[in-house]
Amino acid sequence: MPILRLTLLRHLGWAVAGLVGLYLLTSNVEPYRDLQIATIAYTAIAAAGLTLLTGTSGQISLGQGAFMAVGAYTTAVLLEHRPEWPLGLVVLLSTVAAAVVGALVGAAAARLRGPYLAGATLAFAVGLPALADYRGLRHVLGGANGLVVAQPPPPLSLGETFPLERWQSWIAGCCLVITLFLLANLQRSRMGRNMRAVRDDEIAAALSGVDVARTQVLAFVVSATCGGLAGALLAVVNGLAAPGAFPLALSLSLLTAVILGGLGSLAGAVYGATVLVLVPGWLNNLAESLGVARNVYANLPLALYGVVLVVVMIGFPHGLQGGVRRVARWLRPDGSARSRDGNASRADVTRVTTVPGTESDSVLRGGPDGD
């Protein structure tokens, strides 16, 4: 089917399929599940942004949770002081606010590498939520208790009994589909190729005319924008923006989701986010039926994420999505026609890096990516 070779059309097809799937899924479940879907959607948005940054552009960020905090607080403050503004505008402005912060942090981050970047973003993630309790801002940001967000009701045209949770899952789900569509196109664009080139070999990329710093700042801004959108949706869905909602553990769990899904894979980011949201619920039920103490099961997911980070990094550097891809390649009869690591989209970058095959030693370089 030659028409499917057009990237844009194929991505549009996926987007429409995603929206239809979302409609069918949300219409047939009870409100609690709708709420879970909304949570998965905004988590996936944050994870997708991080996957672009870490997987495609090769920069690590432990600060995604802090960008979510920026988005969430902007939404909370705007909804409190400008309740007449439409929700779409508020979410858009929150996203822009996170993008601006992202540009500032990204400009600094573009000069940092590896562990230095990790340390700087760690400081950002630990430091930013504490601002809510800063004495000059406490009256605006609500201190340690945070701000209560008035949840916008579903429009009356949907009927008076339309559940709020389903409306929220629609908002979050649509945002997720739009985000994934834009990110997928970005990954396949010239900018996405530049990011992969910078990730694989900065010096070779610079010699080929890629503006390394600009590419890295842009990746950071895109990632922060996704974080801000996710945070805005979090505030709307949960009805609260509080510093306790954005601990370091949040940023680290998002990193877990991204790594679990295979770095650089947007589909993997969605799986990873799904696991991130569903696993605590399952563990909760399991622990309750076993009668385990609250402290234990509340921390079980976190312990699991830690184990996942270590085990995946040491054992399965291609993540869950890498495994799925490997099986798919094995099943596909014409698999041998593609490049050896099954990743035709990377061929252009591999040429830049001069020594094909050497990248496979690194997760951040060897993780298959593309759509």
Partner: protein
């Protein structure tokens, strides 16, 4: 007077940052890994000390237990990161972060999320000079002396003993060291254990002022990292100076701007230092290896 007090408080807290920075620098020197799990490791060792204290152990017994636990934990952590040693830097970063998350979760399971108070060895009431009370207490003096002692001991270890020489050799030229009969991996394990002992000491020293909880050491990790970067990550003496400088800077930030912006202050210091001298204030100049 306020300035003098903030300076004294800065020296006291700076010496603790210096100890955390030392723990990070020791590991970076030997394995080129920033041990982000250090925050979790010192949290766990401090909980060990707390538990010993709860069961009637004295401050000194608790401290000894924390140091012992640190040695064991450091050696175990080295075994964990060994597969990613020498690999791409981000893989090692992620493994140590995984360990951090895991340790925090385990501590949360056992002790819950509410931070516990930890009593200091000496009085925390400031010294009296005339009739003004200084912001510097016997507990602060003990902290300062303990960190100075450890720094001197480490310097003696590295400069004057055969073990220290072997550790330096294993860090700087592992191949050559192996050929000369140094058991490199065992030496690296020892180095991690040593670093974790220093971290454990810092944990117990700082515990009275930040309380002991699964997340209360996150900020200490940030401060220690910042101090280590100021000193160039590679130099133990740089780490100590970096710790003291950071302690002073953050003490002024805390005193004149507010304690809630201290961590962001550390971020600003970190970014500024990395912008001006990417290899730290004390590092020799060198190019980035291609």
């Amino acid at each position: 007077m306020r300035f003098v007090n903030l300076t004294l408080a800065g020296v006291a807290s700076g010496s603790i940052y210096a100890a955390v920075a030392l723990a990070l620098v020791l590991i970076w020197r030997s394995t080129r890994i920033v041990n982000f799990a250090q925050g979790g490791m010192m949290m766990v060792t401090t909980f060990v000390a707390y538990t010993v204290g709860q069961h009637g152990g004295s401050y000194w017994l608790a401290l000894a237990a924390a140091l012992g636990a640190g040695a064991v934990l450091g050696a175990l952590a080295e075994l964990l990161v060994r597969p990613v040693e020498g690999g791409p830097p981000l893989n090692a970063v992620i493994v140590t972060l995984g360990l951090l998350v895991f340790l925090q979760a385990v501590a949360g399971m056992i002790f819950g999320g509410t931070p516990r108070s930890y009593s200091p060895a000496f009085s925390i009431g400031g010294y009296l000079i005339g009739d003004t009370r200084l912001l510097f207490s016997p507990a602060d003096l003990f902290t300062l002396l303990a960190v100075v002692t450890v720094t001197v001991a480490l310097a003696v270890l590295f400069r004057r003993t055969a073990t220290g020489l072997r550790m330096r050799a294993a860090a700087f030229a592992p191949e050559v060291a192996r050929l000369l009969g140094v058991r490199v991996s065992r030496t690296l394990t020892l180095g991690w254990a040593l670093a974790a002992v220093v971290g454990a000491l810092a944990g117990v020293l700082v515990a009275p002022s930040i309380f002991v909880g699964p997340n209360t050491f996150d900020a200490m990790l940030v401060f220690g990292f910042t101090a280590a970067v100021i000193g160039g990550l590679d130099s133990p003496s740089g780490a100590v100076v970096g710790g003291l400088l950071l302690g002073l800077a953050l003490s002024y930030v805390s005193g004149y701007a507010g304690s809630d912006v201290v961590t962001l202050g550390a971020l600003v210091v970190l970014v500024v230092v990395l912008m001006i001298r990417p290899a730290g204030l004390f590092a020799r100049r060198g190019g980035r290896r291609v």
